[in-house]
């Protein structure tokens, strides 16, 4: 038997390979990056690092419309960007299988928020599978493609950091090619109102059928009847570890929920717990069935769960979370990083620096304190224009090259046409550095700015007199774009 030790992410990639996937797209983001990284290099699969998650999903959808299986992977916040196509692809459905992988980040190890993307499954009315280890990650990926084709729906495969980055043993299988061809069906794929209305009816019917499936593929493990635990993903492994004798309803498919199984399970066990990370997603639906359970009154919504925490809550032990009072190693730029000279200049100029997402966000920390705002990918350009409209204080937008291509271009066109007098610095280091220098669809930033109509375009590098250039552009009464060109040390 061919077995291998794989991370959850590698196992998803292996599952996609075995499922005969032809197209795999992603925008890099922790904890999802390794999925696409593991797919790059398979000669049978077209892979790319897309401009953003929306484009990635659109390409994958095109491939599935044309009859070939496609997978798209992203971190949780990436699905916000891809949400627009997601909600209507749900109506249109698929030809070949389409699987969307969302890697959530409970505990916020490397993200800007802790959103629970299980809500997207309910919101977009699509089925969701949640693996709890690497074997399941591979198996559920293949299952997701089968469900996608059988039920004419995109499928959400939801991971969390611990599942993505933990390794466990996986049994490998053979690749099976996906065989379909393009199949025109205007009423299904052109979502004008007269077509969308019947497709919405279809979606509601589909959910009912998926609930039947959920009752079949979710499993009850009866043991001692005193305590019953409904749980999902990594929380299952934690709970099983500390409560090996309890009864479990393990939700492999956590949307739609298996209402029949839940009711049956709740009648058999004396005390029912719902153990899930982040939102009371399962708990609220269980309670809506009129089933009494203990959930978020005992378990926190914020942060990760852990075996120790579950043990302390279920067994009334004092929970001695080890408080880390020791000095922390704050994330910092690599020695010699060219961001140093840029942000030293920005700090001296004492501007409001409206930032964006990338290694440069670390300028907000000690000892630099030279970045004032960071919310989401591409916010800097629009937000700095908002500041400009209401404040006399000088401000500047700072955005990385990959982030600019991801979500900055439309904002630049907007603020130029609305007569911004601001300044935008595009930091061009040649790749998506924070996640390991993945390539992105490259563009000549100066030429692009010129094509938009911007007159003041300056290219600088670490050897330029950065401070005076910035000062000069900030003081102009027209929009300026400064391109700071210095390759990332990791890419050298």
């Amino acid at each position: 038997m061919n077995k291998k030790l794989l991370s959850g992410n590698e196992a998803i990639a292996r599952g996609a390979y075995e499922a005969g996937v032809k197209v795999a797209c992603s925008y890099p983001g922790t904890p999802a990056t390794e999925i696409n990284e593991a797919l790059v290099g398979h000669k049978e699969i077209y892979t790319e690092w897309s401009a953003n998650e929306k484009v990635a999903l659109e390409i994958a959808f095109g491939a599935c419309y044309a009859g070939k299986r496609a997978i798209v992977s992203m971190k949780h916040v990436g699905l916000n960007v891809a949400a627009d196509p997601l909600f209507t692809i749900s109506y249109a459905g698929v030809n070949s299988g389409l699987v969307i992988v969302s890697a959530d980040d409970p505990g916020i190890f490397s993200s800007q928020n802790e959103q629970d993307n299980r809500n997207y499954a309910k919101f977009a009315k699509i089925p969701m599978l949640e693996p709890s280890d690497s074997q399941e990650a591979k198996d559920f990926t293949k299952l997701a493609f089968d469900i996608s084709e059988k039920y004419d729906t995109p499928v959400l495969l939801r991971l969390t950091t611990r599942v993505s980055h933990s390794k466990s043993i996986v049994e490998l299988g053979q690749r099976k090619e996906s065989q379909k061809e393009i199949k025109k069906d205007i009423k299904k794929y052109v979502m004008i109102p007269s077509h969308a209305k019947p497709r919405h009816v279809f979606v509601e019917e589909r959910l009912k059928k998926l609930e039947d499936l959920s009752n079949k593929i979710n499993k009850i493990e009866y043991n001692n009847y005193d305590i019953g635990i409904i749980t999902n993903g990594i929380s299952y492994q934690y709970a099983k570890e500390v409560m090996p004798n309890a009864s479990f309803l393990k939700l492999n498919m956590s949307y739609p929920l298996p209402k029949k199984l839940i009711t049956e399970f709740s009648k058999k066990v004396k005390k029912l717990y719902v153990i899930e990370e982040l939102d009371p997603f399962i708990e609220e639906q269980v309670k809506a069935l009129g089933v009494n359970c203990i959930g978020k009154e005992k378990f926190p919504i914020c942060g990760e769960l852990s075996p120790s925490m579950i043990d302390s809550i279920l067994n009334n032990k004092t929970y001695s979370k080890i408080e880390d009072v020791l000095p922390k190693r704050l994330p910092a730029w690599c020695n010699g990083c060219p961001y140093n000279s840029l942000f030293a200049a920005l700090k001296e100029l004492d501007l409001n620096v409206i930032g964006d997402i990338g290694c440069y966000t670390l300028a907000a920390l000690e000892p630099y304190n030279a970045l004032d705002v960071q919310i989401n990918m591409g916010l800097s350009i629009g937000a700095s224009f908002g500041v400009e409209k209401v404040s006399k204080e000088k401000n500047i937008a700072v955005i990385g090259d990959s982030t600019f291509v991801h979500s900055g271009i439309t904002a630049l066109i907007d603020i130029f046409n609305n007569k911004s007098t601001g300044t935008v610095i595009i930091i061009d280091n040649g790749g998506t550095a924070m996640t390991g220098m993945q390539p992105y669809p490259k563009v000549d930033f100066a030429k692009l700015a010129k094509a938009i109509g911007i007159k003041n375009i300056v290219k600088i590098n670490s050897k330029s007199s950065i401070k005076s250039v910035i000062e000069n552009e900030v003081n102009k009464k027209e929009l300026s774009v400064i391109v700071y060109e210095e390759p990332c040390l990791l890419g050298k």
Partner: protein, 182 residues
């Protein structure tokens, strides 16, 4: 067999992840169920790195509650995680400081227990890059897994041109005379 837990802690660039990968591969080859969990800081270099390996007949959680074996590659990171080490567990600690602001004083006093072995890896090897393999050599004496699994895994995971120097460090670890090193 009860599940056993190994915890490794250090800073980026010390080969903590590599050591964790080798251990888990060895245990996998030896026929155990294995699960690992790792957290790296956001920084590319010199951030905290902590990784755990659990093995046994059937492992559920990849996240540990206590450690039977602890490999500390750096003193502050050791201090951060040493409380995980079981009373009867074994700690192998590198006497090395990767200093940051407010670096705690007298760490060695605070971590020194009967079952903690303190080593000066760099002095022993003259090469800090392979201290991780020295530690694996020492760990291998306690885990009781056949040596061929270690050699195979090292050869599989480490790029060919570095295999020999790593194997030498591993052998050094197997043969450390603790009566003189403690």
């Amino acid at each position: 067999m009860k599940t056993k837990d190994i915890l490794l802690a250090g800073v980026g660039g010390q080969g903590v992840m590599l050591a964790s990968n080798i251990i888990s591969e060895v245990l996998f080859k030896a026929g155990f169920d294995v699960k690992t969990s790792s957290i790296k800081g956001m920084s590319q270099r010199l951030g905290s790195v902590v990784s755990s390996v659990r093995f046994g007949e059937k492992v559920y959680s990849p996240v540990i509650r206590k450690a039977d074996y602890f490999l500390g590659f750096e003193l502050l990171e050791t201090l951060r995680y040493i409380s995980y080490l079981n009373k009867g567990g074994i700690g192998i600690i590198n006497n090395y400081e990767s200093r940051i602001e407010n670096y705690p004083k007298e760490i060695i006093k605070r971590i020194k227990k009967n079952n903690v072995i303190l080593l000066d890896g760099q002095k022993m090897l003259g090469n800090k890059k392979v201290i991780n393999l020295l530690f694996l050599g020492i760990l291998s004496r306690h885990l009781g897994i056949e040596k061929r699994f270690w050699i195979e895994s090292i050869k599989e995971i480490i790029p060919e041109k570095y295999v020999n120097i790593n194997l030498r460090a591993f052998e050094e670890g197997i043969n450390v005379d603790f009566k003189n090193k403690r």
